[in-house]
Symmetry: C2
Subunit: 463 residues, 2 copies
Amino acid sequence: MNGAVALPLDLPELSFTASGDALVRRSVLPSGIRILSERVPGSRSSTVGFWVAVGSRDELSALGTTPSRYGSTHFLEHLLFKGTPSRTALDIAVSFDQVGGEHNALTGKEYTCYYAKVQDRDLPMAVSVLADMFTSSVLDAAEFENERGVILEELAMADDDPNDVVGERLFEAVLGDHPLGRPVGGSADTIKAVTRDAVWQHYGANYRPQDLVVTVAGAVDHDELVAQVTAAVASAGWDLTALSRPVERRTAALAEVRRGEALSLTRRPNEQAVVMLGYPGFAAADDRRSALGVLNSVLGGGMSSRLFQEVREKRGLAYSVYSFASGYSDAGVFGMYAGCSPKNAGTVAELLLGEFGRLAADGITDGELARARGQLSGSAALALEDSDTRMSRLGRSELTTGEFTDLDEALRRLDEVTPADVRALAAELAGRALSVAAVGALDAEVFAGLVETDEPEPLKAVS
Amino acid sequence: MNGAVALPLDLPELSFTASGDALVRRSVLPSGIRILSERVPGSRSSTVGFWVAVGSRDELSALGTTPSRYGSTHFLEHLLFKGTPSRTALDIAVSFDQVGGEHNALTGKEYTCYYAKVQDRDLPMAVSVLADMFTSSVLDAAEFENERGVILEELAMADDDPNDVVGERLFEAVLGDHPLGRPVGGSADTIKAVTRDAVWQHYGANYRPQDLVVTVAGAVDHDELVAQVTAAVASAGWDLTALSRPVERRTAALAEVRRGEALSLTRRPNEQAVVMLGYPGFAAADDRRSALGVLNSVLGGGMSSRLFQEVREKRGLAYSVYSFASGYSDAGVFGMYAGCSPKNAGTVAELLLGEFGRLAADGITDGELARARGQLSGSAALALEDSDTRMSRLGRSELTTGEFTDLDEALRRLDEVTPADVRALAAELAGRALSVAAVGALDAEVFAGLVETDEPEPLKAVS
């Protein structure tokens, strides 16, 4: 991966109680494989994830120097379901389907995760199948060509979803040529161009023992889990005796972000226009993340938020309206979204910006702060009922900061946030370069008061 | 509602243990209000629903005799969030947001449900607010006009989603003029036309004590819940001393279904074509529902299903491909879906039909039956971890059959299904009238081999 720090070879075993009475443990095998579990008393299900800290942002370094490799990380993720020497693609699907489990994978900008949620008795099966996929996929050439077609359909499906499109365009506009600005899946052109050799090279370079993090939450016995993972990867013929390189974590050094575009307009003959406004935001581990959570909650985090009240409740201009804060290791995006009639798109964009500007100028009330604390702590407590949430949180912590914050610690940090912190944060964001992305039957002049405008791209049409 | 049977005035109290160690109880107040709870040991959250057995199918009888009322049930659902004499819309939103709860509502074809998921300590608040919304909404005239705009945006958003559109068109095509064939939300024209008086009349006629069913699952004490509901509705000034009419349940008499269209084509300049094939299916309470579950699982219920294997894994023609079975009180729809390149739409539709025809002709193997049983029982067990699922199941059972089937009983029925049952069911379905719905850059001739074709509608375009 880009910009990584080596972890100590003797990364310690961990064991502590988190979030009520859940027991978290981490073991590090001599090969560098990291295994983390969070045992939740009373849980009857287990969610397991096999993680690697490589995502779409790493594709140039992982795969060579040409943009034609974009989307290869996601392509590889698909291919891991297509068979090993001991299991066909159908065998893999049957393994999970016949126990009613959920299984899938997720390629992100900074990691890839293969996961399954099963009843407790089926956890050993899930570990065994995921380990086989992770270590021993064959990437069969015929399957590779078939899957190219499937991925092109997935990209086409996303391209027909205005919300997907506007989100991708906003990230490109706000983050410019920063690698986090690229779409995860690549494009139809890069997927048509990529070769099996390139993806095979990616697989070999990034799916080694020291890259693997296994996390399990719910009904799990840590020692049994370590034995299962050890046995599964040993049977794959991996050299598990010694590290071939240190285990690494991505550095958190902040990147410089130069805006790509002020306005990214995608013209479509849709009923609605979808509009996003965004600024370069903060990294996931930024010290101000609790204040950022409060800002996002007050501005656009629920039905009582300022954006919802102003744009939907008071004016009836949108059905869906919200704000969001996305953080990664070295950069982030803070943004606002609304879907509205094309004729109201300019007005709605001005309302979003007006509400944000008012918050940056005048700050938030004590009542809003108390409400945001309640919302963030209550929703976090509810989310912990799902073993999926816990599994995912465990994996992201290990891959990024290496810091495991339980609910009590998160609440303590939240209690320290003041209205002044939130106002200062909003003012800093509002001073950064604004980008607008929109999809719909719109002309660029609609946003002339907000950003400089360009010629629209040619309109999509069917022959 | 249309076609209802009266329940005995002395509908009994119920109390039994279901699905492991959960305790289900039902109480019926003198006013006819039915209160059901499912206490799940160890649960820290509660999900509560306020239900009424009126959905979009009931709009003609509930609201008069003109189609201009279509969508009024969904309109009313929105208005219940807009304020009571003691709570503004903002107060309602703040109540749930400040504890991090989830709250929303769902209008279906046969029922409407207002629900909230909260931590256990917040259940009394949730009951109190939902009861106030249910009994005492004011439907303010200015809020009514604002909300008309919001609902028009919601419809526009759905219209821009090809999957939403193709689903609505398939139901219309398969069910013809049966009231279940209509879209839940009405159309822009009916929403522009509806008056506050009509919605007010709907509210008064269908939200009385004997219409209300309250269900709670998770952390709940039944006796406390009954006391909370009783106190909340009493403070609304409802006459709770006696039933003004018997409590009713919808009849399960099967309706005759006459197909609306053989082909419903919506031309859009999209990257993908989305295609659905469907037949009139079975009512929710049909004796063959376990066999139908197996049929759906084997045909298109997971990654190991025949449709997924044939269309995606073997041929790489689609990313998303599946089958589904929707059942209501007197009719249903059985269908298949795929999203693919427009140039492959005809081939993909033939593949879907071919796989279904092969299953109807040759049946399923013992291995497929065993796999489907495992899938259905395993996924049902996993779903029971969520209090949302249990709350919803409880409400739908009380509103429809009045029969509470726990997991063991469902598994026993599943064990009785034979390959011959599934084959006979598939053959019966395959003998019914086929309809095709598609959205995309397609001409009707693409489906000429499957159904008779008509002229396409004019293509949507932006000026």
